[in-house]
Amino acid sequence: MKRWLAGLTLGAVLLSAQAAVDTFEFSSELERERFYAISSELRCPKCQNQNIADSDAPIAHDLRNEVYRLLEDGRSDEEVVDYMVARYGDFVRYRPALNAETLVLWFGPVFFLLAGFLAVFMLVRRRQRAAKDPLDTILTSEEQQRLDQLLEEKKSQND
């Protein structure tokens, strides 16, 4: 029973996800997949938190038509995306292009992650060193000298 329900739900989800594609007739399965991949990576300019595959806005509909037309025309995926960017700007890419303006966007998180690792690494090493030789870190050099002196005195007294 449970398995049945899961299958049914999955089917419903898959069907609804492709609802927007159904009006087009593709020359091949590959074409259909390319269409869906591109239109789910293009952001709808009017409804800014949706891709054009999921949006019901008239502009999204127009852009889907255009993607379909360009693909049928034999353009490559990259050409289709560039075509849209030339008209609507970098904004329509959900996957931003790698250029000088987007360097921080692409590598900022990696940078912060590495900085975090470095900080943790340094902290851990400092603690380990402190645990191995606690006196080392507690005494200043003058205190160490004084200690040596005292030990030396005691030694000579014992002798």
Partner: protein, 184 residues
């Protein structure tokens, strides 16, 4: 020294907050938060060859837009905000501002009726019934207005309703500068 390191996260937070604040304040100055920067700025106005709204036999092309700086206004009868904008365009055209229209994805009969009823501020009026020119222009919501120079280069784009304030703040000086460019 170690103490100073502790305030680094706080400084990062301040920087981030500063960015958010800047964005927040820039939007309160009456800018539409949905406004996208147009990649067409400083690019030539796209080529087209489309019938005019008034006469389907008469075709308009990019060459017809050249010679004088002009506003190119994207409008449609289904666009509610365009109705608000229309009287302002009438007034500007009466003052001698060159305005061309692109009737975007509209019904031609309705467009002609609109121009009869509300007065026609447009010198050329391009009928873009299937929205192809609109797509080349990156239009995603009427009204949108492009400012082009005498060579047909797009110099500025305004998205939203042009009212007197917008004209004064965003467009008047830019338009005048282009007019001055033509006759030094």
């Amino acid at each position: 020294m170690r103490r100073l390191l502790l305030i680094v996260p706080f400084l990062l937070f301040l920087v981030l907050a500063g960015f958010f604040l800047r964005d927040l304040l820039s939007k309160e100055e009456g800018k539409n938060e949905l406004t996208l920067p147009s990649p067409l700025i400083n690019q030539p106005f796209p080529a087209f060859n489309l019938p005019s709204v008034q006469d389907a036999q008469q075709h308009v092309s990019r060459d017809d837009l050249l010679g004088k700086p002009a506003l190119v206004n994207i409008w449609a009868t289904w666009c509610v905000a365009c109705r608000v904008e229309h009287p302002v365009l009438n007034k500007l055209s009466a003052q001698g501002v060159v305005i061309h229209g692109v009737n975007y994805k509209d019904d031609n009969a309705a467009a002609q009726k609109w121009l009869r009823d509300f007065h026609n501020p447009y010198q050329l009026n391009i009928s873009d019934t299937d929205g192809r020119l609109g797509l080349d222009l990156g239009v995603y919501g009427a009204p949108e207005t492009f400012l082009i120079d005498a060579q047909g280069i797009v110099r500025y784009k305004f998205i939203g309703v042009i009212d007197e304030k917008v004209w004064e703040r965003e467009l008047a000086a830019r338009y005048q500068a282009l007019v001055d460019e033509v006759k030094p």
